[in-house]
Amino acid sequence: MQPLQLSAFTVTSCLGHGLEPTLKALREKRSGLSGRRFETVTLDTWTGEVAGVDDVIIPAALSSFDCRNNRLAWLGLQGDDFLGRIRDAVARYGTERIGVFLGTSTSGMLQVEQAYRHRDPMTGALPADFNYHHTHNSFSVTNFVRQALALRGPAFVVSTACSSSAKVFGNAQRMIAAGLIDAAVVGGVDSLCLTTLYGFHSLQLLANQPCRPFDAARDGLSIGEAAAFVLLERVQQRTGNNDIYLLGVGESSDAHHMSSPHPQGLGARRAIEMALEQAALCPADVDYINLHGTATRNNDAAEALAIEALFGPDTPCSSTKGATGHTLGAAGGVEAIICALSIQHDLAPAGVNTQTLDPELHVNYLRTNRETKIDCALSNSFGFGGTNCSLLLGRMPAT
């Protein structure tokens, strides 16, 4: 598979709007998690809420798409001149040769949750202004972004829980390789809603303090929200050493359990191996691993076994979910962009919040930022249903 160029990218999370505040927060080892309670949620937990989403006004022509998730998408698209870079791509390829493949786990779920609270007391009907197609349906976010960018190529949502927006890199890679499209907008958007907060609470997987990945006393995840967008295309021209390429994608299934990972991390290991194989790289070529690292007991233990088995105990790794929260269907996109920043700025970011490393997890988990040359970074994203995806990003295409 030919490497693809990440020719533009932008991320908005609780760390900030765009690449610059994101990088600054990573450098400062700042977490964006807060104890402020979201909406009407009464759970004792921390969340990574993005500031200002409620104030976003989406384009008038697309007002039927108005919901928190699409507001977050629209906010995200404004970052880092991403819209301008899409216009350039349209000029190069035309609107029908650019795909849109976004990951989300809940899309506009908050919209329907609120609609159920405002049913007609007599008939039980949902409010007349509830728009199923453009807000609640999982496809809503891709539909919105495709129309907002005036694109007319192939499009869909990948909704495989927390691997969603990593897997879309594979979809784009294959469609470009097959010649159906020349470029694709990939990434993910997931926003806070009651289903995920109360859902993870019901599974006793929600921490009541900021999540602590790989900590001996880790006790669950903190949920965040984010919008991450990447323009992927065939290698255009090497503009400099800061060009970032997608080198490999690996995908697998655990075939084990709906909400627990394979205890030995076999599915995770298979995804990493497939990404390495596709990139024609070996584990020693990987300079930094951005872990899935949700901070649940089982997830971190299984992932550590997979990492140790393939890389040994030395490869620097961290989870950035202590900073961003677990942004679920957007996590793969967010963390691919964090890997891109790591490569561009020679920064292996520390995992924040973690106090005492779990001695049972035999990996080189970073608790301080490491300034080091990173030519190749691995990003892991795993999800419910035993879905696994690993991405390899690098400074130069493998030759």
């Binding site: 949902l126 499009a155 009651l194 019901s202 879905t387």
Partner: protein, 269 residues
Amino acid sequence: MTLPTIFLNGIGAFGPGFDDWPSLSAMLRGEVAWSSTATQAPTPQALPAAERRRVGMSVRLALAAGFEATAHAHADPVLLASVFSSSSGDGQICDGLCETLASNDRLISPTRFHNSVHNAASGYWSIATGCMAASTSLCAHDASFAAGMLEVATQIAVTDDDHLLIAYDTPYPEPMQSCRPLYDAAGIGLVFSKHPRAQSIAALQVSLAESSVTPCPIQAMTALQTGIPAARGLPLLSVIAKQEAGAVYVQYLDPLALRIEVKPCRANC
């Protein structure tokens, strides 16, 4: 832009009035009159008992379509990469969560929560079959069937691996049903390979084109085609059932339709 030919080796079909591919294909050929009876999906015996008890209609439907298709194709499910495509996953589960979250007691069931993910059917499929190959779960609203077909044809073009497509939908109960009326539930399973096999039924070529959609030739069944996203594939299945050659256009995203050119594999006529 046309993708390389793929070969269809097995079909599974569950929906209103039919509970396997032989019964649906007889209806599409006009040999048996279609009558609408509520969709039934068998309990997936391949799942461990604990999991079997937990699955709802959407998972039962998807797995039934997958098992029929793989048996028809003489394919080992363990070896198949898969693409699941659905407009809304499981409507009952979504409604149940929203009901609970709108109540004074928001304690939702953990099983219902992990079954609410769009890739629940994919997860249970991999548990039931032991398949560790890549699997994805797509949504493109009414274009979900075509999105799944396009993805499968793309994956086969690039990877050479055999693939299973499962398109499935279940309706929402009220009050969601009024906002998103679906006729009933349906699940279609299709097994494909890059090269022809002894079992191959038809050769398919997939491309994108600006065109109107091909209607289902059995007029009564157009209510299914337009009323269930997974059943947008009925015109394709109709051509295959009649072992005809020809092109059909399946609903995709404005301004595009998915053009599928079908040639029967004569050995299996």
